[in-house]
Assembly symmetry: C2
Homo-oligomer: 397 residues x 2
């Protein structure tokens, strides 16, 4: 009696989530310390101490009714202002409270944005590999997700290929920067090139094509790498942000959507996002977390911890003979499977109690995603198992 | 460039939310103490002290990574168990962890449930008056909401009329008990009668018809009134609950869905609800609030405060000549408009700086909803204005 639409989703449940549940099962069997679970983007770095302190302070200092109560669906005024001010300071933008909608994590924000702009039959284009939930999010609104095939050498977006895929039905292009699952950052020149293509297509088709940038990993950029802020390069840009990774709060569901004044119909678009968010049952972003953000907007995660993980895992795996693009951001390695069917490779790894996710789950078969947002010890302890796995595949022979 | 589907929603934004924003505007002009805003179901009674204490304790005592991290999409195991155990103690049910899905408020839960069961063209039946967002929630899944016309004397559900409206396309019947906007409680005999009709129709059509009971006001029942727990009367029942009112946490977005084992396809239905919740971008109910619930599941709000408001407002308004059904639950009075078009009545009240919501927003024109979840002082201070309003309509003459 579940809906026809939901049946395939129930039958082919998210491979990431299945692996996460499998990890919990194995941890129960062998002890958590003997299972190397790299399946889920669940930060092991704790939230900055200031976050928990701020929550306690809010509860002590602010009016409890207001702290836990309804506010305007778009969020508390001071929270939205704090977000806008922080972005202006960092990216030279000119955002105000009215350009910011507080949302329950990037997944919630993407749904609200897509519902606001999509009608049945519309199209959204993205670049493979990509977070496979995008497909479900777009399908929620009876629209189609088209994907530009991956460049498996650089994993950079191919703007020319994008151009050939845009039609009169294209309402949006969706990018994820830094990228899950590859860890690649799309640099300024890539964004400039995408913007050029989109402006040309906007003129050709006579309507806005929104560039939606999904940026939960923005703050995770290593060795000073810059993540371009898309509204500076393209008017019809929408930024969807989550504090899940930057403040290690994935379970709390807190983020924002930024719509600059320059976007077509910016005001009614923002209003539509607020209403879509309400109608989808999100109503508003969790209020206590919004109160916390007023005090913690510029807090930073322990980037050094992720960077140590990144270096140790990347250097060890390449030393063992695995092939992998060097990640500049996020907390993922996207490793080439030593056999054609990466599902087999995942099975082989599981026999060594290593869990990661097949690239097919990101529309990029032949690769696997390894989430290194685990403890340094987990990585160090997993290395002998990775080495055995490499030897099993005779990678160095 | 917003979607065609969203345009009417943006143009006819929720009357409740418009009134809420109007209230804030008037409060800015005249001072909050001179505006009597009865528009929104935003509890003025603070969360029990134990709730804020538990949040602080969780932050101090539990592992921060786990507190703010991802868990299984259905929720933390101990939170789900705490919910099931509490329901079992109170209602003699036999629920287990697997029957409970933690969700981000009743609005999120209803969306997840409806997405799990509805295909385009399906039908859901509800009883007028009802929370008008139901219409949007059902439309999200391309299904139709049909309404049984209101009995404006008793505001009780007419099960016989329900029977005539069920077709082969009916997938669910949606009730709200205690009721928003009337404050009426559907008693055991009403639920028994609805269950009889539904069982008969299930047999006739050969498929499950779910009875979805939306219960954010369950704990707000006065003078010992009982709110029947629907799974005890009907197998294919789904309870959607929110802690918004019972713990005064509407901004935090925390609740649960309960699916009993007796429901058809209970296991895959539960799984579909979890996945629908994920795909709609809710992902999981906010984690810190889930941790708090393990410690506070049986905490109670200050029912006495609401009851004092109820008595003062009900007795005063009826004394002034307004007509209104005596509410047994929730925190609303549903008052008959002294003129045919209740929008005019709302405008007249606004001139006295009293804000409430037209009954048309609940598919019941000719009435207005007054939310008395405000401070006792607000009610006391509003009485002269209500009296003047009554005199303006010559109610006692």
């Amino acid at each position: 009696m579940i809906s026809k639409k939901m049946r395939p989703l129930v039958e082919n449940n998210s491979a990431i989530r299945v692996m996460f549940e499998e990890g919990k099962r194995l941890a129960g069997l062998y002890g958590a310390e003997n299972v190397f679970d790299f399946s889920l983007g669940n930060p092991n770095v704790p939230a900055p101490a200031a976050v928990n302190r701020a929550i306690a302070d809010v509860l002590r200092e602010e009016d409890s009714v207001a702290v836990h109560g309804y506010m305007s669906n778009a969020g508390f005024s001071d929270t939205r202002t704090a977000v806008a001010d922080s972005l202006n300071r960092r990216f030279g933008t000119n955002l105000k409270e009215g350009n910011i909608v507080m949302i329950s994590g990037a997944a919630g924000g993407l749904n609200a944005v897509l519902k606001a702009i999509l009608d049945p039959g519309d199209e959204v284009v993205t670049f493979a590999p990509y977070f496979l939930e995008y497909r479900n999010y777009v399908a929620n609104y009876e629209a189609r997700l088209l994907e530009v095939p991956p460049d498996t050498e650089t994993f950079q977006p191919d703007a020319d290929a994008l151009g050939t895929m845009i039609t009169g039905k294209t309402r949006a292009v969706l990018i994820n920067n830094p990228n899950n699952p590859t860890g690649v950052i799309y640099p300024e020149e890539a964004i400039i090139r995408i913007a050029e293509v989109l402006r040309e297509k906007e003129q050709a088709y006579g309507h806005a094509i929104y560039l939606i940038s999904d940026e939960p990993y923005r703050e995770l950029a290593y060795e000073g790498a810059q993540v371009p802020f898309v509204t500076r390069y393209y008017a019809d840009a929408i930024v969807v942000y989550s504090f899940s990774k930057s403040l290690s709060l994935p379970g709390e569901r807190i983020g924002y959507v930024a719509v600059p004044d320059e976007a077509e119909d910016a005001e009614s678009l923002t209003q539509a996002i607020v209403i879509a968010n309400r109608v989808l049952g999100h109503v508003n972003a969790p209020s206590l977390m919004q109160r916390m953000l007023v005090r913690c907007i510029d807090e930073e995660t322990d980037l050094e911890a992720y960077d140590q993980n990144r270096k140790l895992l990347y250097e060890s795996l390449t030393e063992y003979g695995f092939q992998c693009i060097r990640p500049e951001g996020a907390f993922y390695l996207f490793v080439k499977s030593p056999e054609a069917d990466e599902h087999q490779f995942c099975q082989a790894a599981k026999r060594h109690r290593i869990l990661f996710v097949p690239g097919s789950s990101f529309s990029c078969p032949g690769f696997v995603r390894i989430a290194y947002c685990v403890s340094y010890d987990t990585i160090r302890n997993s290395l002998p198992a990775f080495k055995e796995l490499a030897e099993e595949y005779r990678l160095k022979m």
